[in-house]
């Protein structure tokens, strides 16, 4: 599964880790994260993330 980086603050979303504090369980692929999820560090929306592979 692919990793995505927040263009605003540099936080990297790793599917293996998920973002459980904000309702995204480990193992969730980027595409399956709800559209209203935001970067847990800086609050940027999904549209501000870039694929890093």
């Amino acid at each position: 599964m692919q990793k995505w980086i927040c263009d605003v603050c540099g936080y990297v979303y790793e599917p293996g880790a998920g973002d459980p504090d904000n309702g995204v369980s480990p193992g969730t692929a980027w595409e399956d994260i709800p559209a209203d999820w935001v970067c847990p560090v800086c609050g940027a929306p999904k549209s501000d993330f870039s694929l890093i592979g």
Partner: protein
């Protein structure tokens, strides 16, 4: 009421009600040699509004300044543009004692204030939202990561005044409150130091923000930051400087930062700096036993080369140099040429360790590092001078 501390008029409806900290010399790793101010502002509108507060120990100074023009209990709104405690320090206390109708912050600000002070009751404002104060208004613009996730600007269109929290600010204690009252080269120096040590990692976001603000067509007659003087005469100057500093174009200048145990690394530093100078660069040699990391960073802001010297002590980079490297890499300076040098006694690991850090910083590293066993002789010093000349040549070709 105490008459000692007074509010200072910025416009008919905006007053400075902050605090001056003449004693401050250390601010999380930054040497604030000239102290600082914590700026808070009162907007005299139908809904009396306080923009930011001050560091907690200065609460009385702020409240006295407010009281010199109005009863603090008349404050209806408090806006928190930035959650860091030098600005939010009095917020919990004021919420309890003044009982304002509303306290506003960005979405990340609401979260950060909860995580700092464990308080509720802060209302979220959205990016672009307008808040009516009755006979005035505030328009909010989120400035995420300049320099915290919670950071936002608030623009007062009726006075063409931007409340910019840490943006465009500087650590400078003064009796003067406005840019036209203070020597412009001092403002440029302290403004640059602030940018280099606080804002620099977010330089690409600053560039985008300046474009966005230009697009919003906010006329700015005043920029009122949370540290240092209010800009009213030279708003275009500080905006232009931010654009320049954010662009990080390399310049014909080298910073040689080093420490030394028995002067050998120091001798190498001098020889390298002679080569840099002969190669056409301005040079700042900064021995780390007497130069502060935040002053090294200020010199790096508009430089083209970062040359780092260290002895090896107990197989490690010398501690002051390691401190500097940790600090500098976090601030993410770009477009630098670099090199490493130093004297060693038996294992000499410092040089490759420094080069690893420089490479991780995307510094364009010249050569594999110059090491000498114990004391350099003239031949080694000539090599040092040549290394300086090589670095200078690369910088000159980068600057074009």
């Amino acid at each position: 009421m105490d008459d000692v501390f007074r509010a200072v008029k910025v416009t008919d409806r905006v007053y400075w009600v902050g605090a001056v900290d003449w004693r401050l010399r250390h601010f999380h790793g930054y040497l604030t040699a000239r102290g600082t101010t914590y700026n808070a502002y009162l907007v005299l509108a139908d809904k009396m509004t306080l923009i930011d507060t001050v560091k907690a120990p200065f609460k009385k100074e702020m409240l006295d300044r407010i009281a010199s023009i109005v009863d603090p209990k008349e404050i209806k709104y408090i806006v928190s543009n930035h959650s860091e405690m030098d600005h939010s320090g009095c917020l919990p206390d004021l919420m309890a004692s003044l009982k304002p109708e509303k306290v506003f912050a960005s979405m990340m600000g609401v979260k950060a204030l909860k995580e700092h002070f464990h308080l509720d009751g802060v209302t979220r404002v959205k990016d672009g939202e307008t808040l009516s104060l009755g006979n005035a208004s505030l328009v909010f613009a989120e400035t995420k990561m300049i320099h915290w996730p919670d950071s936002m600007f608030a623009y007062l269109p009726e006075d063409q005044l931007l409340f910019s929290q840490d943006g465009f600010g500087m650590h400078l204690a003064s009796s003067e409150r406005f840019d036209d009252e203070i020597d412009s080269s001092l403002l440029e120096y302290e403004g640059a130091k602030y940018f280099a040590n606080i804002i620099l990692p977010y330089a690409p976001l600053v560039t985008k923000l300046l474009e966005r603000v230009a697009g919003l067509k906010w006329n700015m007659k005043f920029i009122a930051p949370d540290h240092g003087p209010v800009w009213r005469k030279d708003v275009d100057k500080i905006l232009g400087l931010y654009a320049k500093w954010a662009a990080q174009k390399p310049a014909k200048k080298a910073v040689v930062a080093y420490d030394t145990m028995w002067q050998s690394t120091a001798m190498m530093a001098r020889a390298i700096s002679e080569g840099l100078e002969a190669g056409g660069l301005a040079v700042k040699v900064m021995p780390l036993d007497v130069c502060h990391r935040s002053d090294v960073m200020t010199e790096l802001l508009c430089a083209g080369a970062f040359v780092v010297g260290s002895p090896t002590m107990n197989n490690q980079v010398y501690p002051t140099v390691a401190d500097l490297l940790t600090y500098v890499r976090g601030l993410k300076p770009k477009n630098l040429v670099g090199a490493a040098f130093g004297s060693y006694g038996w294992s000499g690991e410092a040089i490759p360790q420094i080069i690893d850090v420089l490479k991780a910083m995307k510094v364009d590293v010249v050569a594999d590092g110059l090491r000498v066993l114990y004391v350099p002789d003239e031949a080694v010093l000539v090599q040092c001078r040549a290394l300086g000349a090589d670095v200078a040549e690369k910088v000159r070709s980068n600057v074009g």
